[in-house]
């Protein structure tokens, strides 16, 4: 049998480090791990979402920037055409001003793609060309994180290509300026000459304009395909990411669940095994001692009988102790089965009282009982309730000096009734056990129900008790939906009240 217990213990502890770590972690720690995991998942999802929005923002910035730029291209062309038409220097000024703006946009592109450019300087000029700082930051974000994507490269190349066209336009502008400015536009013949010489330049302007259009169409299709691709990639990443996280969470949860139930099972098995082991030697001792006392091995003299009785009494204490220990361990580990059935409380009380008959007679105590008329059934667990009654009777008898008096009363109560200073929460029975015993000191009222607690005034008088009885009784009643309380006066007596809901 010991071998079996050893095998079980080593089964519990011989697992791999991780398993053991998981097993050693308390429920609280496991819960913290799960909470941390959830927070991590939320944080990562939020970050993914944030990155997504920034990308979208960056793309929007790029598009709005590009549309601004293409409008400005057109404006430059129109300015130049106006100049070629009106010959007024005003229009040439406008043209130069527009070229400046285009140069400004070029600076922005360099600020995004070229690390050496002073971004601070650039951002100062942003407002004048209608670009917001936020847009610049978004563009920089996209370029830094996604610059390696071919679509982004293509878009930037197209943007760079437009520099060429702007430069060509500038040259054409210069040529036209050279044709128009030295001449006197008020003289009719001069205007005819200008018109003749402008023909080539006009042709060139249209060529540049067409190229602008082509570039813009290229850009639109790159953007279109690019953003579709990015969207696809983001969706795939999000799905993979979330699936992995979800899978990990499920696996961990399942694992924890399995480990927990394994531990529960091992606990139960260990408990029942060790309690069995604990009871084995005392059982043999009990029987042989009984046989000795019965004279089965020959009659004993008085002294021998006395000594054997001492041994027998102590052995019984050991048995009682291990029974109590088993029950309270069970309660604590939550392993105790509670099976509620229709129980006759009066029957239960009577049979329990009968078990203590001998002890009562021995101490010459007077017992008074009072039971209610009519039905006395409640839905509860008779096994467990019996333990409570046994404990209370045992205490009453034990802690009342000889020739004392114990009264057992059972009454049906409804919600709102007051009994022993406590309000009854709902319909049920109250069993009260009064004695004329040593009483319980007021300062120890709360502690009396705690594990292994024995009141100070009886510890000297009687070394016998285990300190587990009341703790166990309270645990059981809590589980059954009942309650236990008492009223007491030192050296006068104690009354314990047990409430059992219907």
């Amino acid at each position: 049998m010991e071998k079996h217990a050893h095998k079980l213990i080593s089964k519990i502890y011989k697992e791999s480090f991780l398993k053991r770590k998981l097993r050693d972690t308390s429920v609280k720690q496991k819960f913290s791990i799960i909470v941390i995991l959830i927070i991590v998942i939320i944080a990562l999802s939020t970050y993914t979402f944030y990155v997504g929005t920034r990308i979208m923002s960056g793309i929007r910035a790029y598009i709005s920037g590009e549309s601004l730029i293409s409008k400005t291209h057109k404006e430059a062309v129109i300015d130049l055409l106006n100049y070629s038409d009106s010959y007024e220097e005003e229009h040439y000024e406008d043209f130069l001003h527009t070229i400046e703006m285009l140069r400004g946009y070029r600076q922005i592109r360099l600020a995004v793609t070229d690390k050496d450019v002073d971004r601070g300087e650039v951002s100062q000029g942003l407002f004048s060309i209608g670009v917001e700082l936020e847009d610049l930051n978004d563009l920089i974000f996209i370029y830094q994180k996604f610059g390696w994507i071919s679509y982004i490269q293509d878009a930037i190349r197209i943007w760079e290509d437009s520099d060429n066209l702007i430069y060509q336009l500038e040259i054409i502008g210069g040529e036209i300026h050279n044709i128009i400015s030295p001449r006197n536009i008020d003289i009719h013949e001069e205007r005819d000459e200008i018109e003749k010489e402008l023909q080539t330049s006009l042709f060139n302007i249209y060529a540049v304009d067409q190229n602008f259009t082509l570039l813009e169409r290229d850009f639109a299709s790159v953007l279109d395909e690019g953003s579709r691709e990015i969207k696809k990639v983001l969706i795939i990443i999000a799905i993979i990411f979330n699936s992995i996280l979800g899978l990990i969470t499920v696996i961990i949860a399942m694992y924890i669940g399995r480990v927990t139930s394994e531990v529960e099972r091992a606990k139960t098995e260990f408990l029942s095994l060790s309690s069995h082991q604990l009871r084995t030697p005392p059982t043999s001792m009990k029987w042989f001692l009984e046989m000795l006392l019965s004279g089965d091995a020959g009659s004993l003299n008085d002294k021998q009988k006395e000594y054997v009785e001492e041994i027998y009494k102590n052995n019984e204490r050991m048995i009682t102790m291990s029974n109590l220990l088993l029950s309270s361990s069970r309660m604590e580990m939550g392993v105790s089965n509670i099976s509620k059935i229709k129980t006759d409380i009066i029957d239960l009380l009577k049979s329990t009282l009968k078990e203590h008959e001998f002890h009562i007679k021995e101490k010459n105590l007077v017992i008074d009982t009072k039971y209610p008329q009519g039905e006395s059934f409640a839905i509860t667990d008779p096994k467990l309730l019996k333990i409570v009654f046994q404990n209370i009777f045992f205490n009453a008898i034990k802690y009342t000096p000889p020739q004392g008096y114990i009264s057992l009363e059972m009454e049906k109560k409804i919600s709102g009734d007051i009994m022993g200073g406590m309000k009854i929460p709902k319909e049920g029975f109250v069993v009260s056990v009064s004695d004329t015993g040593y009483g319980i000191p007021e300062s120890e009222y709360r502690s009396i129900f705690t594990k292994l607690y024995r009141a100070s005034n009886i510890k000297e008088k009687d070394t016998d008790g285990t300190g587990l009885g009341l703790y166990l009784s309270k645990s059981i009643l809590d589980k059954l939906g009942g309650s236990i309380w008492f009223q007491s006066e030192i050296n006068k007596g104690t009354t314990f009240y047990i409430f059992i809901p219907l």
Binding site: M1, S272, S275, H276, P281, T283, K286, M291, D296, R330
Partner: protein, 136 residues
């Protein structure tokens, strides 16, 4: 001296199946002292064999035993023969009847009694056995 012819009262046969040597010894001695014919076995396998061979009037059975547990033996006993189905069996154990597994086995195999060793005096056990055979 009167020589009255009485039919000889048959001695009741009790089989004790218990793996703990001290406990087995105590039970064997006690029952012998009370006029029973006692068979003993130290595990479920041996117990089953002896039971089928000798057909005792009552069996006292422990649960936790090597080779074949008490419940295992009881189960086989109940299924193997008509006799096995009806022979009274008292389970005498230190295993609490609180575990689900034990409860299930009790319901399935129908012992006559389930007694917790540590809570019963050996005289009580003998008395319980005698109660099964009133008038003998």
């Amino acid at each position: 001296m009167d020589e009255k012819q009485y039919p000889r009262k048959k001695m009741l046969i009790v089989e004790i199946v218990e793996d703990e040597p001290s406990q087995r010894k105590a039970l064997v001695e006690k029952f012998t002292m009370h006029g029973f014919s006692v068979l003993e076995a130290k595990d479920g396998e041996e117990g089953l064999k002896i039971a089928e061979m000798e057909k005792p009037d009552i069996i006292i059975l422990d649960i936790k035993m090597p080779k074949l547990s008490g419940m295992g033996m009881l189960n086989k006993l109940r299924q193997k023969s008509e006799w096995g189905k009806h022979v009274p069996v008292i389970i005498l154990t230190n295993l609490s009847p609180d575990d689900e597994e034990t409860n299930r086995l009790i319901v399935e195999n129908q012992p006559s009694y389930y007694l917790m060793k540590a809570n019963f005096s050996i005289d009580d056990i003998v008395r319980k056995v005698k109660e099964q055979f009133p008038g003998q």
